[in-house]
């Protein structure tokens, strides 16, 4: 149960590993130094939990460049004693991250994000740099990275990828990227564009996420305060629109196992948990096998499954005082999620118990 959170504190850049003990409701954290510069994007390897990539700003000669790199966390953080959450000053003398390799792309411009191959063996990453998508092969120890192929977005003006997501479907051969108001899909085998949703949002697209269970479904959010759900087979119209936030939506995430649960974070300082039953992979609720039911329960269960389910807002979390920039589901417990805001506040929440039981039963 861990959440990696990038936090910028003045000129010192750290990675905090927050450990949340669900049973005892205790939060503890470890701090790692990231000396290369301020971190703009972070993602963990699916294969090795000690390996992660960051995109960071490097300031040199009054020029700001964003680079990508692969890091290994020192082995001690895990076994080492966790500090109590009440005493932040224990985080002095934090340990440094061990640099594995640079995703050196100085020729390709600033990296906006680095994506790991979902459920892969930790050998493939994609970095999005300005208008290029670069596919990297890492060696066994991740100490060396080579570009195996790349795609370039061409068009009028200065095009720049703002966000991307590696699809977990189709044998991991598809990538979705966002630039300005458009969403594009790429085939990684040929590195060519397969679809393009022009004007997917009224303004800049901020984030994308794939439905983990429905291979053609994609969620996007952006500066027009909307969250849209797409079926990439029909790119003319979104399947569904959500218009609950009152400012830019910065992040959208499907729950990893129950894809009707969608989490969004916005700069109106709110986190909204929605229940999108109608477009989920379980539109009629959890299908119950008759064999599992005892006769006594039968009627009761039938009633429940027959209830028409509506898309709805489950709850709005207003704990943050400033813009929320990131939301993430826990990879261990599907009912747990965290959100992070500008002022450095990390909030961990649970899905309401009533809804949880409604989905499970």
């Amino acid at each position: 149960m861990e959440d990696d959170a990038p936090v910028i504190y003045g000129l010192e850049f750290q990675i905090h590993i927050i450990d949340f003990d669900d049973e005892n409701n205790i939060i503890s954290k470890s701090v790692l130094q990231h000396q290369a510069g301020e971190i703009w994007h972070i993602s963990a390897s699916p294969a090795d939990k000690a390996v992660l990539t960051t995109c960071y700003n490097k300031t040199s000669e009054s020029r700001v460049v964003t680079c990508g790199a692969v890091w290994r966390m020192p082995p001690e953080w895990e076994s080492g004693s966790h500090e109590s959450p009440d005493d932040p000053h224990n985080s002095h003398n934090p340990q440094n991250l061990e640099l594995l390799c640079h995703l050196d792309n100085s020729s390709h411009g600033n990296a906006s994000c680095v994506l790991w191959e979902p459920m892969g063996d930790g050998k493939c990453v994609i970095s999005l740099a300005d208008n290029h998508a670069l596919l990297w092969d890492l060696t066994e120890s991740s100490t060396q990275a080579t570009i195996s192929s790349s795609a370039t977005l061409e068009g009028k003006g200065q095009l720049k990828f703002t966000a991307g997501k590696w699809s977990p479907h189709h044998n991991c051969t598809q990538l979705a990227t966002a630039n300005d108001t458009a969403i594009r899909g790429w085939d990684l085998r040929t590195m060519s564009q397969i679809y393009c949703i022009e004007n997917a949002h009224g303004q800049l697209v901020r984030d994308l996420d794939f439905n983990p269970n429905k291979q053609y479904y994609l969620a996007s959010c952006g500066d027009d305060c909307k969250v849209k759900f797409w079926d990439v087979r029909n790119i003319n119209e979104p399947v569904k629109n959500l218009e609950e936030h009152s400012h830019w939506v910065w992040s959208v995430r499907y729950n990893h196992s129950h894809d009707q649960l969608v989490l969004t974070g916005s700069s109106d300082s709110r986190v909204i948990l929605s229940n999108m039953v109608s477009i989920s992979s379980e539109p009629f609720g959890h299908l119950v096998d008759d064999d599992d039911l005892s006769d006594a329960e039968d009627n009761h269960q039938d009633e429940k499954t027959k209830e028409p389910l509506q898309d709805s807002i489950i709850s709005t979390y207003e704990e943050h005082e400033d813009s929320v920039y990131a939301v993430e589901w826990s990879s261990a417990d599907p009912w747990l999620f965290a959100s992070l805001s500008y002022d450095g506040r990390l909030v961990i929440n649970r899905v309401p118990r009533a809804l949880k039981y409604h989905i499970l039963l």
Binding site: G10, E12, N57, N199, S246, H247, Y342, D343
Partner: protein, 757 residues
């Protein structure tokens, strides 16, 4: 005692002869007095007592002598009366005696008369006995004579029939034949009669043939036809066949009429012609048919007794079939009537159509034709309402397009938004009124169908009120809402000024117009709501919702335009390597200009609204706060690498005390609220963009200058200046966070730069 009882007898006698009524009515009151000597109730005892009591002796003596004198005169009167009447008695006795003698003489004469009469009776019997034989003979002879006359008629019949045939006196022939037919039938076993019968049959067949031919020809007049039919019926032709023939004959003529109709173009002429030709000849056919087959006196010898029954059935089928054709024609024609300009023509045509069908109803009481006709009228009215709704809608859209063009065109004559709004709403209202007036024709008093239950009830409430007026208002709201939806993402954006104008329009509808229109409708049509109708409040709610949505959208769009400007200005600049600020960036001036023009635009349509009280020199005061000492303490700790928490702590504490800002909170219907919304959106965007960049020293200073400039000009637009202050504060604070070398500019320098412009 004796006297009293005798008086009573006297009274009864008087009563019997009615004297009491005649003579004594006047002094009835006196007569009751027992002291009145002439009265009926006179009591001598009482009278005597009274006299004795009241009078002196002298008076009594006088009274007595007076009374004796009176009695004496009465006695002499009585004597004269007896003498006078005596003579009369004597003469009466003489008369009676004379009468007795006369009666005796008369009795003798009567006896003589009775003997004479007996002798006469005897003679008369004798005479009739002798004449009886001759009389029987004469009777027999006259019988033979009649028979011979009949026979002669029979023998002459074929010749006579032939002659009639030649002269075409068919009716005479038929009546002659009818007279002879039974006899011939009866004696057909005799060869001579058989001959005659055969001859007659042949002739009559020929005659029937001829009649049928005439009937079939059709050239003859209706009267001829009916005569034909009557004769044929008398000839025992099957009635059913005749009915069929008659009807098919009529049908061909009526169908020709209908075909003639199809060529007609003008609706009124079409209906006129339909009425005059088709309907009137249909009526004629019905009338003559009924005359012939239905209303004829029942004749017992006709084999089929249910002729009228059968005939009526046929007639109904016939009329229904033709009417269906006619109605389909009429309906098609009415559907072609699409132009909504002049409704009176259509209404008049429908009225005529409906009126003429009433004639059919009178002729043929059980027929479904009139009710079908009414249904057509009802359908036409419904269709009309739909057309009017469509016309209103397209008028509304056209007006909107005009307004749009007027807004897009450069201001020439100074047609401001306010004028446009008032002219738009006035023209819509006028259009609604004229449509109502047109529709009102359907319910005018002189229109025959206006008193049908549909036109009294459902047409007014469901038709006019719901389908037309309410639907139009709903359409206005919905189309307004659509402007909000379509304009968002994919091109075809609506000009913001139009959004604002529509929002005001919807608001006006909510406050007054809807109520006015509905009241007007209810009054004009005297709507009686049998079925539930849309409440005014619901419509007003809808209009208000639309107004709110439009205004929100307006704020969003305008905010977006300014945001976009700010975003581009922040994103495209290299803030690390910028030069020391010398003046306010042009984009900030642009922002202030745009905000000012939006302020003017909104001010034309919406009221000012309330703002929180502020000090006399707000720009100065707030400015000094955010770049003053507090600001210093806010980002000073960021120098110290070991104390990152302080910054957060401070900013969090600060935020605890300031209210949370809802960026896209619902806008109120006033200028200040609208402007506040737009400025909030713009500044929030500015803030978010700044947080995504890295700044050098001069970058921070430039932002300081820009924010100061914005502060100087924007505070006056918003409801709560602290809001602008807070957001600008956040922007500078965030910039300082993102700054590599945060060295803020001197406040005095900033002021100098800003004032220079």
């Amino acid at each position: 005692m004796y006297i009293r009882s005798s008086r009573r007898v006297h009274g009864m006698l008087k009563l019997y002869y009615g004297l009491n009524e005649e003579g004594k009515t006047v002094d009835q009151a006196e007569s009751m007095n027992p002291c009145d000597i002439n009265g009926t109730h006179f009591d001598p005892e009482v009278y005597l007592n009274k006299l004795r009591r009241e009078c002196s002796l002298g008076e009594l003596m006088d009274q007595e002598s007076c009374m004796v004198k009176q009695i004496r005169s009465l006695d002499s009167d009585m004597q004269t009366l007896v003498y006078e009447n005596y003579n009369k008695f004597i003469s009466a006795t003489d008369t009676i005696r004379k009468m007795k003698n006369d009666f005796k003489k008369m009795e003798d004469e009567m006896d003589c008369l009775s003997t004479n009469m007996a002798a006469i009776t005897e003679f008369s019997a004798h005479i009739s006995g002798t004449l009886q034989d001759q009389h029987a003979q004469i009777t027999k002879l006259s019988g033979v004579h009649t028979l011979l006359r009949k026979l002669q008629f029979l023998f002459e019949l074929p010749a006579r029939l032939n002659k009639c045939l030649e002269l075409q006196a068919y009716s005479q022939a038929v009546s002659s034949h009818r007279r002879a037919r039974c006899v011939l039938q009866q004696y057909s076993h005799m060869p001579s009669f058989r001959g005659i019968q055969d001859d007659c049959h042949a002739i009559m067949d020929k005659l029937a043939q001829e009649l049928r031919q005439k009937f079939r020809d059709g050239g003859s007049s209706a009267e001829d036809l009916s005569e034909c039919v009557e004769l044929l019926l008398q000839l025992d032709e099957p009635a059913e066949e005749l009915c069929d023939k008659f009807l098919s004959h009529a049908q061909s003529r009526l169908e020709a009429n209908l075909r003639g109709l199809e060529a007609e173009t003008d609706i009124l002429e079409f209906i006129d012609r339909g009425c005059n030709e088709f309907v009137s000849s249909l009526c004629l056919v019905i009338a003559s048919y009924q005359e012939l087959f239905v209303n004829r006196p029942q004749e017992g010898n006709l084999a089929s007794k249910d002729i009228p029954h059968m005939a009526i059935g046929k007639l109904h089928a016939f009329v229904d079939a033709l009417a269906t054709c006619y109605f389909s024609l009429v309906e098609r024609r009415i559907q072609e009537e699409k132009s909504v300009g002049d409704n009176s023509l259509l209404v008049r045509a429908l009225d005529r159509f409906h009126r003429r069908l009433q004639a059919v109803a009178k002729l043929l009481p059980g027929s479904a034709v009139p009710s079908q006709g009414t249904e057509i009228v009802v359908r036409a009215a419904r269709e009309r309402i739909k057309q009017y709704l469509a016309a209103l809608q397209s008028f509304y859209l056209d007006s909107l397009r005009d307004v749009r063009q007027a807004l897009a065109a450069p201001r020439l004559g100074g047609s401001s938004a306010g004028e446009l709004l008032s002219s738009l709403s006035a023209s819509i209202l006028n259009q609604i009124k004229s449509v109502l007036a047109s529709v009102h024709l359907f319910t005018a008093k002189d229109i025959t169908f206006s008193n049908k239950p549909y036109f009294k009830g459902e047409f007014c409430s469901q038709g006019v009120r719901e389908s037309l007026v309410v639907n139009f208002i709903k359409f206005v709201c919905q189309s307004s809402r659509q402007f909000c939806e379509s304009a968002g993402d994919r091109g075809g954006s609506t000009p913001p000024a139009l959004l604002l104008l529509l929002s005001r329009l919807c608001l006006d509808y909510e406050t007054s117009t809807i109520t006015y229109i509905l009241t007007l409708t209810d009054e004009q049509f005297l709507v009686q709501h049998h079925s539930p109708v849309t409440a005014v409040a619901a419509l007003c709610g809808e209009a208000r919702g639309a107004a709110q949505k439009l205004l929100n959208h307006y704020v969003k769009v305008q905010g977006l335009i300014i945001s976009q400007m700010l975003r581009k200005s922040v994103e495209t600049r290299d803030w690390v390597n910028t030069i020391e600020p010398r003046n306010v960036r042009a984009v900030m001036k642009r922002v202030v200009e745009d905000t000012t023009s939006i302020d003017v635009q909104v001010g034309l349509l919406y009221e000012e609204g309330v703002r929180k009280a502020h000090s006399s020199d707000s720009s100065k005061r707030t400015f000094s706060v955010y770049s003053g000492s507090r600001q210093q303490t806010r980002y000073a700790p960021s120098y110290a690498p070991s104390a990152p928490m302080d910054t957060n702590l401070l900013s969090n504490i600060h935020k605890l005390f300031s209210e949370r800002i809802d960026i896209f909170s619902p806008v109120e219907f006033n200028k200040v609220s609208v402007l506040t919304g737009i400025i909030k959106i713009s500044l929030k965007t500015f803030l978010e963009c700044v947080r995504l960049r890295t700044f050098g020293r001069y970058g921070l200073q430039q932002i300081q200058v820009d924010c100061n400039y914005l502060q100087m000009y924007l505070w006056r637009f918003v409801s709560d200046e602290n809001l602008v202050h807070f957001l600008l504060d956040e922007i500078v604070g965030s910039t300082a966070h993102r700054c590599l070398d945060p060295a803020p500019m001197e406040q005095s320098v900033i002021e100098v730069i800003c004032e220079r412009g």
